[in-house]
Amino acid sequence: MTPEPGRDETSADGPRPAAEEAPALSVERLSAYYMTHYFGVEREVRAVDDISLSVRRNEIYGLAGESSSGKTTFLKTIAAAVRPPLTVIGGSVRYGFLDRDIYALSPAELSAIRWKHLSYITQGSMNVLNPVRRVRQSFIDFAFRHMKLGRRAFFVAVEQHLQQLHLAANVLDAYPHELSGGMKQRVTIALATICRPEFIIADEPTTALDVIVQKDVLAMIRNAQQKIGSSMLFVTHDMTVHANIADRLGIMYAGRLVEEASTADIFTKPMHPYTAHLVASLPKIGELARKEALSGSPPNLSDPPVGCRFHPRCPLAMDACREASPALTTIAPGRRVACYAASPLARLIETTDRAAGAAPLGQSTGVPQ
């Protein structure tokens, strides 16, 4: 497929003019832990640890990270779908369409905004579509209440929406098992966008799909998002998908956001060693050089390593990394990195420290934990 000329320049200069407005989602210092106590053993799993980010209007914000890095927990907390043992410890989640924090809402208010303003595309579309009812029924279940239309007008709207997304209207009469995986995922996307929500959360929507279908489904997500002008938080561990769909990318590691930048910057000039590894290890057709794998495995979140959570696997680990966790700092416009090695200031402090003597590094840097 040839790229359309003239659509590429947006990626180059990063933030678009729309960024001046209030963000579609702003998350401030959000922490959510799984708190369990079984048989007198108390455990605290820090799945989301002090995350701040904002999603601009009309953009797709990609969130990358491996499993057990807290991606899904983060999605649950921003969707206010929190059930024990998951507990929100602190922080705020504000949406552009809401005047209050989402945790200030009553359950009734919450269910009114869900699907209408905030919708969700899940990984397993089978979990969304009722397997024993026709797809038509799923549309009624999810959207009828929010659309506030008569039954006939509702289906006219549904069919129009399907047509916009290039889906045949007869999928409404199919049972989920009659549709292929890709088709089901398309129906789920249509379902998630029917109410024209301001904000869409997509959790690994293409992971279960084949390469050929995946590309079409991604294109459809992109299309739908542009048509209804909503913002999207797109979560997947697949960096090649992010390269092709996200405007900005946040990289999560062990419950923390370690880097955030425009997609092009992440891929061409990664600054966090974990990001650099992720990008460098992507196999490409036509490239035979041996790709080094990262040693070790992601930390156990109930007992994370002291200091930077990446330091046991990090090739650049310094003394400072073992003592204190680097904060996510802005080091260039639109770029935030949580790494001592990436920030020139941290490097400077380290060198002055070394010159001064054996002063403990963690204290002198004074980085907030």
Binding site: M1, P3, E4, R7, D8, T10, S11, A12, E66, S67, S68, H166, L167, A168, L179, S180, G181, G182, M183, R186, D210, V211, I212, V213, Q214, K215, D216, V217, L218, A219, M220, R222, N223, H237, D238, M239, T240, V241, A243, N244, D247, T263, F267, T268, L278, V279, S281, P283, K284, I285, G286, L288, R290, K291, E292, A293, L294, S295, S297, P298
Partner: protein
């Protein structure tokens, strides 16, 4: 040993579909032939989208499904003609599977070492506890783990990458000549995926194991395999040396597959453009 390790000879598998009336047949694998040479172990990638018959082919090679027609010969002996426990166990020893999802391959309520010990006893013939421990530990060492790490652990206590390594270690216990890996890395995390892929490459280089690498990921197939077979709807549409086929695909389906691969080089917006109708036409099977 000389000659063919595995010979897949015009194999067809058809499944009956429909009810009593209007009974039809659906060919999941249609006239597929290829051979693996014994003296020259190789990594053969079978590429195709879901529904292309990859997994059915794998199950026939693992002898859990009998082909409708054609024959699969392993070292000259036909697989599905194996009779008796002893003969079957012999095949199982030589051909070992690695499944897609390590979390499904292991029972979540049982400790992972149970599977390792069971394989050591049944397939490697380790009788004493000492011999079992030695066999299991040796296999785990080959994948970069150790018995101390895996012993007594439940699947949820290991990361996806460790669990997949454990599954590979289990397959290695009986020193197989052929490993059939069905989408072994698609459920493994990004930072661990390359370690599994590199592990396959190392097993092939060091242990001289032939590997049938079934995948839909062209990029990793290009990275590790020597030869590829591209399947579409049960038929082989293109086959040849991996680099050649994947760099210059000839068949329209192979070309489509290659074009669909999302490349990290296409960073930025606007590449994902689809002409109206194309998106709708693809999904309906």
């Amino acid at each position: 040993m000389s000659g063919e390790l595995l010979e897949v000879d015009h194999v067809t598998k058809s499944f009956a579909i429909g009810g009593l009336f209007g009974r039809g047949h659906f060919k999941a694998v249609d006239d597929v032939s290829f051979t693996l040479q014994a003296e020259r172990p190789e990594i053969l990638a079978i590429i195709g989208e879901s529904g292309s018959g990859k997994t059915t082919l794998a199950r026939m090679i693992l002898n859990t499904l009998a082909p409708t027609s054609g024959a699969i010969r392993f070292r000259g002996a036909e697989l599905h003609k194996a009779r008796g426990r002893r003969q079957r166990l012999d095949f199982i020893r030589q051909i070992q599977p690695i499944l897609q999802n390590p979390y499904e391959a292991f029972n979540p309520l049982k400790r992972v070492d149970r599977y390792l010990y069971a394989s050591a006893v049944r397939l490697a013939g380790a009788r004493s506890q000492k011999a079992r421990d030695a066999a299991v530990d040796a296999a785990l060492q080959k994948v970069g783990l150790s018995l101390a790490e895996a012993k007594g652990r439940f699947p949820h206590e290991l990361s996806g990458g460790q669990l997949q390594r454990t599954a590979i270690a289990r397959a290695l216990i009986s020193s197989p000549a052929l490993i059939v890996a069905d989408e072994p890395v698609s459920m493994v995390d990004a930072s661990l995926r390359m370690s599994i892929v590199n592990l396959f490459k190392r097993l092939h280089d060091e242990l001289q194991v032939s590997i049938l690498y079934i995948t839909h990921d062209l990029a990793t197939a290009y990275y590790i395999s020597d030869r590829v077979i591209i399947m579409q709807k049960g038929k082989v549409v293109e086959t040849g040396p991996a680099r050649e086929v994947l760099m210059h695909p000839q068949h329209p389906y192979s070309i489509l597959l290659k074009e669909s691969v999302l490349s990290p080089d296409d960073v930025g917006r606007g590449r994902l453009t689809v002409e109206p109708g194309e998106a709708a036409g693809q999904g309906a099977k």
